[in-house]
Symmetry: C2
């Protein structure tokens, strides 16, 4: 072919910026993971503060015996976003990721996609940023020590988000698999924080003002029993995030003031799936907008029953989109057919052939 | 940078084939548009024949005052697919497409995406292939002449599908905009068919055994009035495909045996939105599997009230996926994070930075 730029080259309108996994890693490292988490939490906070604007629906899940594939759409009226995400617990034993994700932002006014991005890494970042943001509103003042039970893929992101956004500087790690704790400890060395490797959950929670549970087993597990949770702590429960998967003993729930992202979804997927449908919970945005109280007393146990919600993904995609103006870490994809005459899609296809033939001759 | 292939180059597992608009045009022209339509109709037929296997749901629509953005997922238990599609009638006046689309296939067993494809062109092809497939079961035996009212983006695809799959060789075209008819007539010249340009819908339907309506106005339009529809014809109604957008006078519906893709969706979006919710309709797959009758008599008016359903998009994506083995018309996208140790997503991100630094030095 004589030319790489034939006459039918797609117009600017037809191009959608795509952030690959490699580009996302470069973007994160270029900005710095701590700054990325901190800036991302501001985007999440901005969107929680205008929560009522958003179209909200529980995610659209397609279940199979091996796992689930979900679509999570939302819109603020100007921008539409959705995430594709799977959850396949058996994947790890076959050399695949348990969770992979990608997402799209689109212009509500035209319906045109404006960003396609990997979201496996981005979801890990937004989950951590959201946890730390919730803790900023709910954790005891002056918290400095966090227990982290479950030291898998989410662990280091959580630690750095809590360091950056709340100033937590002591992390007490425990995992049933000591190699996971070693991995997290190694990855977090030299980050200006103190890591304490613990031999049990009980040991991990000693002296912690915040307890993060982030385990992966798909079952009704009891990562925390009632006696392990002292008065005044904030629990950041990440791992109980689908039907049949919880981490906390029911008695802990009954002693806690419970905060959630979006109650209709959390009642299906969160720790509170074990409670009656009318058990009182507060949505986090209500605390942020001062329409509900967050932490009232030093003795109160606050529980952020986090399952991950579409608006957080929207915030994360919005943040990535806003980086595109000053980064080269994306490529343009020719995703949208853009004929000169919108009624002449067929002609566009046929003429493309003629033009290729012409460039060959 | 010293190398374009750093050590952290993504594994095969992390790669998702992407068919761009340009690649789709090359694929269509390489196969030939008529053969593509014919082969695609076989894929649609295969999936309609195993209809009951599929997860089915009405599409998930996000409406705004300017238009709609929809996600259309489905799964056959082994493969999952969804389409993103927008519909913005006002776009054309601003130089944008009314409808753009892209789609994804994924492996149900792992949740991993296996194909990302443009679907603006592909949707036009699957719509035409499905129309012709329905007519194969419903139109009068020996049909040779089709009226086409509305000569926009879908027109030529319909004509070639009906030529290839049913042997229709006379097309009588009418559009309120004569330039659209001229455009379609020009695009269809030299394709071994007879084109008759008509000055009215009434003229277009004269002598036609099949009437295709494919207009774009978003309103309750009356493209066909009752007196224009003689006994025995098959009506292929494409343009009435969302709430508030229909093409046929209600009396025609009452004289017709009505066939639909998926009744719960068509009752919302199709011509039958004007009829009571319990008006008898037959799903097309039931005719294909002989569980319901199609055309019974020469005098019967059959109406395919087509709105487009997720399974047709699934078939189309499946067809494109099956072409990948013998085409170079795609690129691999690095869409899925694939760390060596699935629990070490953070380490993957951090080490990527080290490796880039190493390749720079």
């Amino acid at each position: 072919m004589a030319s790489n730029i034939p006459n039918h080259a797609p117009s600017k309108l037809a191009m959608v910026p795509f952030v690959s996994v490699e580009h996302m890693m470069k973007l994160v490292n270029g900005i710095g993971v701590k700054q990325f988490l901190s800036e991302l939490s501001v985007y999440v906070e901005e969107d929680f503060l205008r929560w009522e604007l958003f179209d909200k629906a529980p995610r659209l899940a397609t279940h199979s015996k091996e796992g689930v594939i979900e679509l999570m759409p939302t819109s603020d009226g100007e921008v539409y976003g959705f995430k594709y995400v799977n959850g396949h617990p058996k994947n790890m034993s076959e050399g695949f990721q348990t969770v992979t994700a990608f997402g799209v932002l689109a212009n509500v006014s035209t319906g045109y996609p404006m960003l396609l991005s990997e979201m496996t890494i981005l979801t890990a970042l937004r989950t951590a940023a959201t946890s730390a943001l919730a803790a900023k509103y709910l954790a005891p003042q002056g918290s400095r020590c966090m227990a982290m039970i479950g030291n898998g893929a989410q662990c280091e992101f959580q630690a750095l988000a809590f360091k950056e956004i709340l100033g937590i500087n002591v992390f007490r790690l425990y995992d049933i698999d000591a190699t996971a704790t070693d991995k997290a400890s190694r990855n977090l060395s030299g980050k200006g924080i103190t890591i304490v490797k613990c031999k049990s959950s009980q040991e991990a929670v000693e002296g912690a003002q915040i307890i993060t549970t982030c385990t992966a087993d798909k079952q009704y597990a009891t990562i925390l029993t009632d006696n392990m949770v002292g008065t005044g702590v904030h629990i950041n429960a990440i791992g109980g995030d689908c039907p049949g998967k919880t981490e906390l003993h029911r008695d802990i729930l009954l002693r806690s003031d419970i905060f959630v992202e979006y109650a209709p979804q959390t009642r299906i997927e969160g720790e509170i799936q074990k409670l009656p449908q009318d058990h009182a919970v507060t949505e986090l945005w209500q605390v942020m907008t001062d329409s509900s109280e967050g932490r009232r007393t030093d003795n109160q146990i606050t529980l952020f029953d986090s399952v991950g919600f579409a608006i957080e993904d929207f915030s994360a995609l919005r943040y990535v989109r806003d980086q595109l103006a000053h980064t080269t870490n994306y490529i343009d994809l020719d995703m949208i057919a853009d004929p000169d005459d919108p009624r002449d899609l067929f002609g566009m296809v046929m003429r493309a052939e003629d033009e290729w033939q012409a460039t060959i001759c």
